[in-house]
Symmetry: C2
Subunit: 386 residues, 2 copies
C-alpha cells in the first residue's frame, strides 16, 4: 500500500504529455480535470452522474470537511471514500485557501493560521501539522501541503516572505507526513496508508521567486508538485508564462498540478505548457448560474434566443442534457428549478471531462497543436456569436 | 386518436381495484401515484430518474405553465410532452387551485377567476373555457375541469353555493372541450387530439352534497372523475369516509382520482376505498426538508442518530440512494447541499411508487387487506421509534 502511488508519463507531444496516475483507489488518466466536491459532494451531482460524465478523481475541501461533519467522524466511518461512497481517487486540498478566503478573524503567524469557523464562530488552529493530520484521517489519495495564499497583486517583498514561509511549512508538512507513514498513522487515525503528498510552488508572478520556490520544494521531496497562487486575477499571458516557466523546472517524471484553474482555454493552454492535473469550480458554479460551456463557445441560457430553440445546447455533446432537452433548459433556469442546476452541471462537467479526453487523444496522436488551434477558435470563445 | 383514452378495471379485491389507463402517450397501471411537476419539472429530478423510480405519469400545473413559459410557446413547441421531453402520460390540473392559493387579488364570479400573477402582478382571467383552452394547448393526456376550491372549514351554505358553481363550470368546461374535439382544436392550437377530461366532485365534508355533486357531474359525462376539496385540514376519518362514500357512487368502469392526497397511509386507505389515482407534493417537498418515507416509518435525516449510521436509510428499498449512501445523507442535508435534495427526492418517490407497485400486486393476489394491515403497522408510522 505505501507504494501504491505511482505516476508514469506515457507519451508526449512537445511539452504536453499524457500519463497515468496510480492511486490506492484506482488509476487516473492525465491530463485530468478534478470536479470540486467542496463538502464531499459535487453540487447537484450524484456520484454515478460523475462517473457517467467521465470523472476519475474528485477534489474535496479539507476546511469544509474538518468543520462539518469533522475529520474524526469521517475517520471513524473509514475515511472520506467510504463516508461519501466514492470508491475512486480523491485529492484533498490543505484547507489553507478557505481559511484565507472564508474564515473570520484569521491570525497567521509562523505556527499556522488561527481562525474562526464561518459556520459557528468557534476558534480553530490550522498548522502545517494539523493540515497533514486532518488529511490523513480523511484518507485522500493525494494530500496537499499547507501553504500561504497571497492576494494579487502583492509586492515583491510580501511575495518573498510568503513564499519562504510556504517552503518552511512544506518542510514541516513533509516531516509530519513521513512520521505518519513511518508509524504515527495509527495514533493519528490515518485511513489510507497509500496516501501521497504534493508540494506547492508559490512565488506569485515573480519568475525568479517561482524558480527558488520550485527548487526548495523539490529539495524537500514530494510525490508530485502543484503550482499555486495563480488564476487569482493576474493577466492571462502572465499566468501562462509563469505556468510555462515553472512547469519546465518541475521533475519530468512526476505529476504537475495547476491549482484552481480554469477556463476551457486555460486547460488547453496549460496542458500545452506541461500541466497534468486541474481543478476548478467554474464548470459547476457557472452551470448553476446558467452559463454553459459548449463546443461553440459559452452560452448564457437566459438569453431570449434559447426560448424556443429546438436544437441541442451543444450538438457535439453526448450528455443526457444535450440528448434530451433544448428550450426546456431556459424555462427551468428562469423558473428557478433545482433540475436546472442538475442538468446544467451535468452538461458542463461532461464538456470539461470530454475536453480532457480529447486532449489526451490528441497528444497520443501527436495532433495536439492542431487540436489546440481549433479549440481556441471554437470552444473557448466567450460566446458563439463572438 | 380521439378514442385513444381507455380505462379498464382488470381485477378487484373488495373495493380496491387494479386497472389500466390507456392514453395517447402510453399506459398507466392503476392504482397510480403521479409525481407533481409543478412547472414542468419534478423538483431536483431528471426525467430518467423518474423513469428509474417507476413513474408512469406526471402531473403538470396549468397555472404555473400558463404564466411561464406560457401555453402559446409550449403549443408552438408541439405541446408539453415535447417541450419538457417526457414522452409518457401527463395530467394537468385546471389552474384553479393555484389561483385560489397563490395568485394575488383574485376576484371570483360566475365568469371565472380574475387574478394577478404572483410573478409580475399582471392581470389574467381564468374561466372554465380558458382553463380548457390552455390545457388543450399544453396537450396533456388528461385535463381537469375548472372548479372552485373552498377552504376548510366551510359552512353548509357556502359549500352548497360553491359546489353548484363548480357543477355549472364543469358543464361549460365540457361544452368547450367537446367543441375543441369537434373542430375548434385547430383554432385553439390544441396539441393532443386524444386528450381526455375529468370532472371533479366537490361538496366538502357534507356527504349529501358530495352525492349531489357526483350525480350532476356524472350527468355531464367525463372520461374520469376526481374527488376534490379533501386533504385540506379535515379530520382523517372524515376524509376517509367521504372518499369511501363518494367513490362508490362513481362509475365502476371509469377512473377515480383523489386530488392532492396524500401520506403513504392515505394511499393505502384510499385504494381500499376504490381510488385509482393520486397526486401529492408530500414525497418531493418533504424530501427537500429532510423527511424520508421508509418501510419502517418516517425518518428525519437531521436526527443525530443518523450521523454515523452505516445501514441504509431503508433496508427494503432498492433505490440508488439506499444502495449507495447512509450517514452521508445527514451530512449533505445539514451542509445544505443540492445533492441532498436530489438523493432524498429519488428515495421518497421510489418509496411512493414502490408502494403503488406493491398495492397493485397485493390486489392481484387478493391479499390487499393483509398488505394494508401490515403497511399500517410499519411504513405508515410517523417514526420508526413510535
Amino acid at each position: 500500500m505505501p507504494n501504491a502511488f505511482r505516476f508514469a508519463v506515457l507519451d508526449t507531444d512537445s511539452a504536453a504529455r499524457i500519463g497515468e496516475l496510480q492511486t490506492p483507489h484506482g488509476v487516473v488518466q492525465t491530463p485530468a480535470f478534478m470536479p470540486v466536491g467542496t463538502q464531499g459532494s459535487v453540487k447537484a451531482m450524484r456520484h454515478r452522474d460523475l462517473e457517467d460524465a467521465g470523472a476519475q478523481i474528485l477534489l474535496g475541501n479539507t476546511y469544509h470537511l474538518y468543520l462539518r461533519p469533522g475529520d474524526a467522524l469521517i475517520a471513524r466511518r473509514g475515511g472520506l471514500h467510504r463516508f461519501i461512497g466514492w470508491p475512486h481517487p480523491i485529492l484533498t486540498d490543505s484547507g489553507g485557501y478557505q481559511v484565507f478566503s472564508l474564515a473570520e478573524r484569521r491570525k497567521i503567524d509562523e505556527r499556522g493560521a488561527e481562525f474562526r469557523s464561518h459556520l459557528d464562530g468557534s476558534v480553530h488552529m490550522l498548522s502545517p501539522e494539523t493540515a497533514v493530520d486532518i488529511q490523513a484521517r480523511l484518507g485522500s489519495d493525494i494530500a496537499m501541503v499547507l501553504d500561504e495564499c497571497l492576494a494579487y497583486p502583492a509586492s515583491r517583498d510580501e511575495t518573498v516572505a510568503s513564499m519562504q514561509r510556504s517552503v518552511r511549512w512544506a518542510a514541516r508538512c513533509r516531516l509530519r507526513f513521513d512520521s505518519i507513514r513511518d508509524g504515527a498513522g495509527t495514533e493519528v487515525g490515518a485511513t489510507n496508508s497509500g496516501q501521497a503528498q504534493f508540494g506547492i510552488v508559490q512565488g506569485g508572478v515573480y519568475q525568479d521567486l517561482r524558480d527558488q520556490s520550485a527548487a526548495e520544494t523539490m529539495a524537500i521531496g514530494f510525490e508530485g508538485y502543484a503550482i499555486g497562487g495563480l488564476s487569482v486575477g493576474e493577466p492571462l499571458d502572465l499566468m501562462y508564462s509563469v505556468v510555462s516557466e515553472t512547469a519546465r523546472r518541475l521533475p519530468e517524471h512526476q505529476p504537475r498540478y495547476l491549482m484552481g484553474a480554469g477556463t476551457p482555454r486555460d486547460l488547453v493552454e496549460c496542458v500545452a505548457r506541461g500541466i497534468d492535473m486541474f481543478d476548478c469550480v467554474l464548470p459547476t458554479r457557472n452551470a448553476r448560474n446558467g452559463q454553459l460551456f459548449t463546443s461553440r463557445g459559452r452560452i448564457n441560457i437566459k438569453n431570449a434566443r434559447y426560448a424556443e430553440d429546438e436544437s441541442p445546447l451543444d450538438p457535439s455533446c453526448g450528455c443526457y442534457t444535450c440528448r434530451t432537452h433544448s428550450a426546456y433548459l431556459r424555462h427551468l433556469y428562469l423558473a428557478g428549478e433545482m433540475t436546472a442546476g442538475v442538468l446544467n452541471t451535468l452538461h458542463n462537467l461532461t464538456f470539461y471531462l470530454d475536453t480532457m479526453r480529447r486532449i489526451r487523444e490528441a497528444i497520443s496522436l501527436r495532433t495536439f497543436d492542431k487540436f489546440r488551434q481549433e479549440f481556441l477558435r471554437s470552444a473557448s470563445r466567450l460566446s458563439p456569436d463572438s
